[in-house]
Symmetry: C2
Subunit: 390 residues, 2 copies
């Protein structure tokens, strides 16, 4: 493939490239480029947020390039402060290594293992002495560090920045020297860290890596970055039905964003949003499980949540404790007893007012209405949950 | 000696003690206190500025306490950023060790070797791994560091603070833990660093060291801190006549300050300032050389610089290049050729106007006056320098 063609392909979905002309020159070298991705196994789960960068790395591989997956067994003990408003908790080396193993396994759901070199940055950081650290530190200034948006915000809000957090970007930069990276991939919050790598490479008289940034995926809440610690994520190791269910719960607006970032196309405009969402969920389950699993999950979903089929569906049973309870009490009980989900009365009231709750297909709109349920009736709580009265 | 008596003695000349009641308690313990002084052998010369702290340490020794002299063979490679407006140059370990050896020798002109324990902080910092560094760093915040006046000023003036400079106070603090210091001595610019030591000791569940700060001596220029790099210092290893000459060159105002800080008494008010200055210089030469050397130097000085005796003094010779030159030209030439001292014409003009320059005891007041010198005449440039025309 010609460099210009390859460039056009790679550019798709990129948020920022520093800079395109350098990338074009490198693509014209006629050798496999070393494309670096650093991963901090601070958690064992790869989620859809990570897949955007991993899919781009796979695209590089499909064009004949070499992926360098840096397992941050050392940096992981600190945790990247990028975009963080508080210091991350320390992890032990053992925790980090355990996470790293399952991480690699999951990454190969996307990456081509044949074109992936995996290295641990502890290999070069662990033997470093205090003197080496000082020498490395003397290359960067505090002023550079304090330009970072995340550090700036923490200074303004008087949230402490611990002195060791300054080491993170320095280490990430040194990684690029050690693996002789031609390109480094990352989310847009990685700009600063990846630029440090370019600086270090220049000082070492090496060709500088291209900074290749990808957009950051919002979590299921539609506002914050997808992350395990925020609980707003879809893990690629989750079961098809968990994955499907979580994706069906997102807003229509977020669905459009997920189409763009995860399927790399616009959401179909001639389709009902509910159907478009099923399509999104189907394709993602297909990618991380299989076409069969996706088909099965979709059928199950359709059966459970289309009104006319609920009668035949295999629903959990529920027997109300007494008659004549208010709607909000009954629904809260079902959430808690059947689905182990604690919801406040005000939350349940909102669901009821929004028309989410139905008895045999009839919406209940008044949270205070006294209701009496009869065996065999179907009580639907929301799109995903319903019970049969026993 | 009773604790109160000892406290009263030690307090003399102190700039700040954090805090006195703690120091009193420690003095009442009835055991020798471990009094820490960290020295960075970034230069091999101990100068009068250092002696203020060393003399205080000697006073602790004379009261039965133990001096812990920490040779910063490790920290010396970074250099204390305290009070500095620019990053210090790196020193190699070899340079630092060479400096340390002569440093110790000089320090024992003041300290009692019997009550001095000397340790090198490289002994605990050299074996530290990157991981240890990270753990130590995680105990302090960047915000703490940025409270420092010197760092603040550098941020404001956009002078770079290199990331490794942050390590300095962390290391100095850790030193206090390692040597179990009861008291740490330092100049007033050491407040921040010494407080970090207190924090670390508390975290290690150790008794906290008392911060004992001493005033900082101005250099010969009377404005900046005395320091080798500024060239405004009197080294305690300098020859009696160098020492004497340098001290005779200070302003009357600075003389009062030197009396206070170096001789720990007020300058005599009933004495002519010139005589008071001779007394100061005499006593300092006596301290760092001997009473005999001081006597000899004073006599020499008196002979050279009292007008009537210049004829007999052993003066360097000078032959003017041509006749009829302006006074300013001749005097500049003498400074440059005889004393290797480059002075601007405006500087020399000022000296002449001030009446510093004399030919055979007659002041020349006009810098532009054409002068013709004859062999055997004495041309006096200033209090310290004169030549015999050859």
């Amino acid at each position: 493939m010609q460099p210009d063609e390859a460039l056009a392909l790679l550019k798709q979905g990129a948020a920022q490239i520093i800079n395109e002309s350098e990338l074009r020159e490198k693509l014209a070298l006629g050798r496999p480029l070393r494309v670096k991705l650093g991963v901090d196994p601070t958690t064992s789960d790869i989620h859809l947020g990570h897949t955007i960068v991993l899919q781009k790395l796979r695209q590089f591989q499909d064009l004949g390039h070499q992926a360098i997956l840096i397992i941050g067994d050392f940096t992981g003990m600190i945790g990247d402060p990028s975009g963080r408003s508080v210091t991350r908790p320390h992890l032990t080396h053992k925790e980090v290594i355990a996470n790293a193993e399952t991480y690699r396994e999951q990454a190969f759901k996307i990456l081509d293992p044949e074109r992936t070199e995996t290295v641990c940055n502890g290999d070069w950081f662990r033997p470093m002495s205090f003197e080496d650290v000082i020498r490395l530190n003397s290359r960067v200034t505090l002023q550079q560090m304090l330009q970072r948006e995340d550090f700036k915000a923490r200074l303004e809000e008087k949230h402490p920045i611990r002195a060791h957090e300054v080491q993170y970007p320095i280490m990430q930069g040194w990684d690029s020297v050690m693996v002789k990276a031609d390109v480094e991939l990352g989310g847009t919050d990685q700009l600063f860290n990846i630029l440090i790598g370019r600086d270090f490479q220049r000082e070492e008289s090496m060709p500088q890596q291209v900074v290749f940034l990808l957009p950051i995926l919002e979590g299921l809440d539609g506002s914050k970055k997808m992350s395990k610690s925020l609980g707003n994520y879809v893990g690629i190791n989750e079961s098809p039905s968990e994955m499907f269910g979580k994706l069906m719960s997102i807003s229509d607006e977020l669905m459009a964003r997920y189409y763009e970032l995860l399927l790399r196309r616009v959401a179909p405009e001639d389709m009902h949003p509910l159907e478009a969402k099923k399509q999104l969920a189907f394709e993602i389950v297909q990618t991380y499980h299989s076409a069969n699993a996706a088909k099965r999950t979709l059928d199950e979903w359709n059966m459970r949540f289309s009104k006319r089929d609920l009668k035949n569906a295999d629903l959990p049973a529920f027997s109300p404790a007494e008659e004549d309870l208010s709607a909000v009490t009954v629904v809260s009980d079902v959430y808690r007893k059947v689905f182990q989900s604690e919801k406040s009365h005000s939350e349940v009231s909102r669901l009821i007012k929004q028309g989410s709750v139905e008895i045999d297909g009839t919406k209940i709109r008044d949270p205070k209405a006294k209701i009496t349920l009869h065996p065999g009736q179907i009580l639907r709580l929301d799109r995903k949950r319903a019970v049969r009265i026993g």
